[in-house]
Amino acid sequence: MKPFAYARPRAVTEALKLARGGATVMAGGTDLLGLMKDGIAAPERIVDIRSLEPLRGWARAKGKGLRIGALVSLVDLETSAELARTMPIIGEALRPAATAQLRTMGTVGGNLLQRNRCWYFRDEAYPCWLKGGVRCFAIEGDNRLHAIVGAEECVAVAPSDLAPALIAYDATVSLTGSRGTRTMPLVDLFVTPHGRVRREHAITSDELIIEVRVPENALTRRGAFEKAMERKTWSFALVSVAVSAKLIGGVVRDARIVLGGVAPVPWRARDAEKLLEGQVLDDAACQAAADAALERAEPLKDNGYKVPLARELVRRTLRRLA
């Protein structure tokens, strides 16, 4: 491994100063260290942000929704009895994610910013397009785990299970950088690599995620999450689906359908969401929405199975809302 400098600042301003000088941020390190050991990332300087107080802790403030600090560990969210009442979809999404050890080390910020799991990306021997090379090896290679919708030059999929669940609850994310603080819908943190954009996230290298917020009115939503894996646990999603909606008199308002593992970003199936507006969640409506959600799917040579799989998970999660 390439030698690197290491700092563990106590203040956000200090961290930002270091970051501006071209450092890489580390939280739990569960993704970053893997990338470094595999020769994919080779930072000169690491800024360990685990001592930054403003990024810690999570709370629900009455009327102000839920605030989750970027440094909160996945296991804290997963095992919280309070959260199981306030926003149970988070526990549902996290329980089958990674392993207990990884969830203990891994943080919310790191989970949202983890790099994709494309096996060509993770093998340093492939100078693939996303890494600055000329071509994508997955398109002609083995792409059973890759995207079925929404991809451009790179067909890797968004791996996080947490992201779809949070996006389905209209979460926002706050970033702080040298040019100040900005807050955006979480869905906009994710970008589809294309053209000159050879990255997966909208954050710049001198910004920090401070926190994620879920608005108060979203907490009244009903939600459901399902994940399909290649074994019963400790696996990234082949497909994951988070849905939510408000049900007013049995009628759907403002549905959210977000898929993981199918596109380079957490994929909002907006056509399907629209279709559900004002509908009663019966079998036919759920099936129609599920069909609509995958209508634009264009599977690659090895991943056609993801289409019926995703369709069914959408249908099932919607059925669970009723």
Binding site: M1, W119, Y120, D123, A125, Y126, F137, E140, G141, D142, R144, A228, E230, R231, K232, T233, W234, S235, L238, D302, N303, G304, Y305, P308, L309, E312, L313
Partner: protein, 760 residues
């Protein structure tokens, strides 16, 4: 002493070998069913269980000697290339780097039929190009990346079916495909013509990686001329032989040790290149040297179970199987041998007309190595599915169909009678435990919407007789405790416990008074811990050694107690004659520090009889037809392996085999990128071994009849049997549940969904 040379034929991993051995004295009469055994046959917890679970057990990977150097291996990034030049100057310039070995500077060292360990032509991604020793593991890892190699790239082929094609790149002069097994009985041509129903199908199995928890590796140290090697191995004597061949030094100068061992599953049969590299560096640099593979290297260059492509044609006449033809191609990678998947087809069922062929296919990938029942797992996956497919076509219950072909008491291949075969009893027990009567030909409704339930089963045939040579020594101390010394090793199967039981039983001691010392070439020879032969090879020799010690003890006691030796016996640590008990320690204590040394050797198997193990697995599964998810609800594993020495360790073998079989059939698949020949998932995240959540309810049953014709303890092997039928049983259950058959292992969601999509 009366010493005899014996020659014997025996079967290991489906291959017949000839062995020559020495035996001493006479063999013992086998323990029968009525021998009133006190310790053998009882479920004793492992004698080393506490050491293992508290972390006190020392594995080779835990060994860090003072001043030790660390090796990293530079491996070929290309599937086939000529190494034109190696320049290690940048690496050697790094502080802490002690040496580099490669094809241009390494001493000649014979390895598995080749003259050197660094080939001029590397033949798979992961082939050894150079090795580097440094003060720390980190330095070695960094420095190895600084070795510059000039490669001339050569054409390659990194896929089984591609390599089989006529127009494929030829990797050897003879081509890529060679016949490796052929067998015929009856007249299949005529039989297929006269059959009422013929079914043909193609089955595929994927490359399975061993993923032993402890990777391959060794630590080497020279003290003057004496080379000591600690190695994670299934065969310390095999490592010794490999070192002798490579380094051309005498046996007296080599000692190989393996105490605790973290799994091998067939892949740790002898010295590896890492052993030789560590030994050469240790000699050159005058320090102990450690060379262990990383997980990624392990999954490139430490062996695998061959992927197969198999076609089966099977025919019925009335309600019987009339003929079968089974052709099989195995991806041996750069292996020098290949396993034979047609073994079960030849020998398991009583089918009149059989024709089988198997072929070895070379590819530009890592060599296979033995993997728990090599060939038989893959072959049974095809054979037992084909039988179900035929049963479906003729409208017969697949178990009923098998019964008609499972009763024969002679081995259809050799014509010899079986010593003991209770396959039908396995069927009875398994069918009852799983609730076979609930099976419907079209499957049944599952426990949730869109779920279908199915039942399936498959049979197991394997050897496991064990054979000579194997020797053991029992030292009985003056205080009545004993030490068993034997050159075998406990690879995690419970060998220590089982051998202690045999000694305690025969010598009349408490189990806690017997210590077992294994894994040391300073002991007498014992065979490789593989082929399900450890208990059946070593056990009888151990029993004889204990008996020899007992007879000597009684002779001594007879003199000291002034009672005829024939009137004495040993019981729970005491010498007993009518009306009198004297503790062994009290008797031997009268002689100053005398150690009784008992010796035992393994006698040959009877010549005119077929020694086999049998079994059957039954599976109950559910399949979600919308998501392709397979839920294994219950496995019943029944095995007929002669006497069960320890039901606890035996059950844990079966559970382990079942779980490894579940991985094979549901999730484990090495993925290779064909255009580059690179393994894409050689790690534990991408290569899916089962997790604890994937483990279903497992019911283990044994017939537990001693095979008194086999050997003096009546036991046969169990290491491999419990993985053999599991994949086929699951595949049959899945097919029963969903009405379509997935003929490729592993049966992933992808394959289930694709099969359902194509459903007529």
């Amino acid at each position: 002493m009366n010493i005899k040379v014996v020659r014997t034929k025996a079967e290991i991993e489906g291959r017949i070998i000839e062995a020559t051995a020495l035996v001493e004295g006479r063999d013992l009469a086998p323990w029968g069913t009525d021998s009133g055994l006190a310790i053998v046959g009882k479920g004793h917890p492992r004698v080393d269980g506490i050491a293992r679970v508290t972390g006190r057990a020392q594995y080779t990977q835990d060994l860090y000697l003072p001043g030790m150097l660390h090796v990293r291996v530079l491996r070929s990034p290309y599937p086939r290339a000529r190494v034109r030049r190696v320049d290690a100057s940048r690496a050697l310039a790094l502080p802490g780097v002690r040496g580099v070995l490669h094809r241009f500077n390494a001493p000649k060292a014979a390895f598995r039929g080749e003259e050197t360990i660094f080939r001029d032509e590397v033949r798979f991604v992961g082939d050894e190009v150079a090795a580097l020793a440094a003060d720390t593991e980190e330095t070695a890892a960094d420095a190895v990346r600084l070795i510059d190699v000039d490669y001339e790239l050569l054409p390659f082929v990194a896929d089984l079916e591609e390599a089989m094609r006529d127009d494929a790149t030829r990797l050897t002069e003879k081509g890529n495909v060679t016949e490796s097994g052929t067998y015929e009985r009856g007249d299949t041509k005529r039989a297929f013509a006269e059959a009422s129903v013929v079914v043909e199908a193609t089955y595929r199995t994927s490359t399975q990686l061993h993923n032993s928890l402890e990777t391959h590796g060794a630590v080497a140290r020279w003290d003057g001329d004496l080379l000591t090697v600690w190695e994670s191995t299934q065969h310390v004597f095999g490592v010794r032989a490999g070192l002798q061949a490579a380094l051309k030094i005498p046996y007296s100068d080599i000692r190989v040790l393996c105490d605790y061992m973290g799994g091998g599953f067939g892949s740790k049969g002898g010295a590896g290149k890492y052993t030789i590299v560590a030994s050469i560096f240790a000699r050159q640099l005058g320090k102990p040297v450690r060379c262990f593979l990383t997980r990624d290297e392990e999954n490139l260059a430490a062996g695998n179970r061959s992927a197969t492509y198999q076609t089966v044609k099977i025919a019925a006449k009335g309600k019987r199987i009339h003929a079968i033809e089974h052709l099989s191609w195995s991806n041996s990678g750069q292996g020098r041998w290949v396993a034979d998947p047609t073994g079960p087809t030849n020998g398991l069922y009583d089918i009149p007309h059989v024709r089988t062929r198997s072929y070895k296919v070379v590819t530009s990938l890592g060599a296979l190595s033995a993997f728990r029942a090599p060939g038989y797992v893959e072959g049974t996956f095809a054979l037992d599915q084909a039988i179900d497919e035929l049963a479906d076509r003729i409208g017969e219950d697949p178990l009923a169909l098998r019964r008609r072909h499972a009763a024969l008491q002679t081995d259809p291949v050799t014509g010899m009678r079986y010593s003991l075969k209770r396959l039908l009893a396995c069927y009875d027990i398994g069918a009852k435990e799983i609730g076979w009567q609930h099976r419907k030909p079209e499957g049944t409704r599952g426990s949730a919407p869109h779920r279908r339930r199915g039942y399936g089963m498959a049979s197991q045939l394997w050897g496991g007789s064990g054979f000579p040579p194997a020797y053991a020594t029992v030292h009985l101390n003056p205080d009545g405790t004993a030490v068993l010394r034997c050159g075998t090793q406990d690879i995690g199967t419970g060998t220590r416990t089982v051998l202690a039981q045999l000694v305690a039983e025969e010598l009349g001691l408490a189990l806690g008074d017997v210590r077992v010392e294994l894994g040391d070439t300073s002991s007498q020879y014992a065979p490789i811990s593989a082929g399900s032969l450890t208990v059946s090879s070593v056990g009888p020799a151990v029993r004889l050694a204990a008996k020899d010690a007992r007879m000597q003890l009684l002779d001594a006691a007879s003199g000291l107690l002034e009672v005829g030796a024939t009137e004495l016996r040993v019981e729970r640590g005491a010498i007993v004659s009518t009306g009198r008990r004297t503790q062994i320690g009290e008797v031997l204590g009268q002689i100053e520090n005398y150690t009784v040394i008992g010796k035992g050797s393994r006698f040959p198997n009877p010549e005119d009889i077929s020694l086999k193990t049998f079994g059957a697995h039954f599976a109950q599964v559910e399949v979600d037809v919308r998501t392709g998810e397979v839920f294994v609800e219950h496995i019943v594993a029944v095995h007929d392996i002669g006497r069960v020495i320890n039901p606890l360790t035996a059950a844990s073998q079966v559970e382990g085999g079942v779980i490894q079989g579940l991985g094979f059939v549901l999730s484990e698949e090495r993925v290779v990128d064909r255009p580059t020949g690179r393994v894409l998932n050689g790690n534990l995240e991408g290569y899916k071994v089962p997790t604890i959540r994937d483990v279903p309810k497992i019911t283990v049953r044994f017939i537990d009849d001693p095979d008194t014709k086999a050997n003096n303890i009546g036991a046969k092997g169990l290491g491999e049997p419990p993985i053999i039928p599991l994949p086929a049983a699951i595949a049959n259950a899945v097919a029963n549940a969903i009405g379509v058959r997935v003929r490729t292992a592993p049966i992933t969601r992808q394959r289930v969904l694709e099969a359902l999509e194509l459903r007529p």
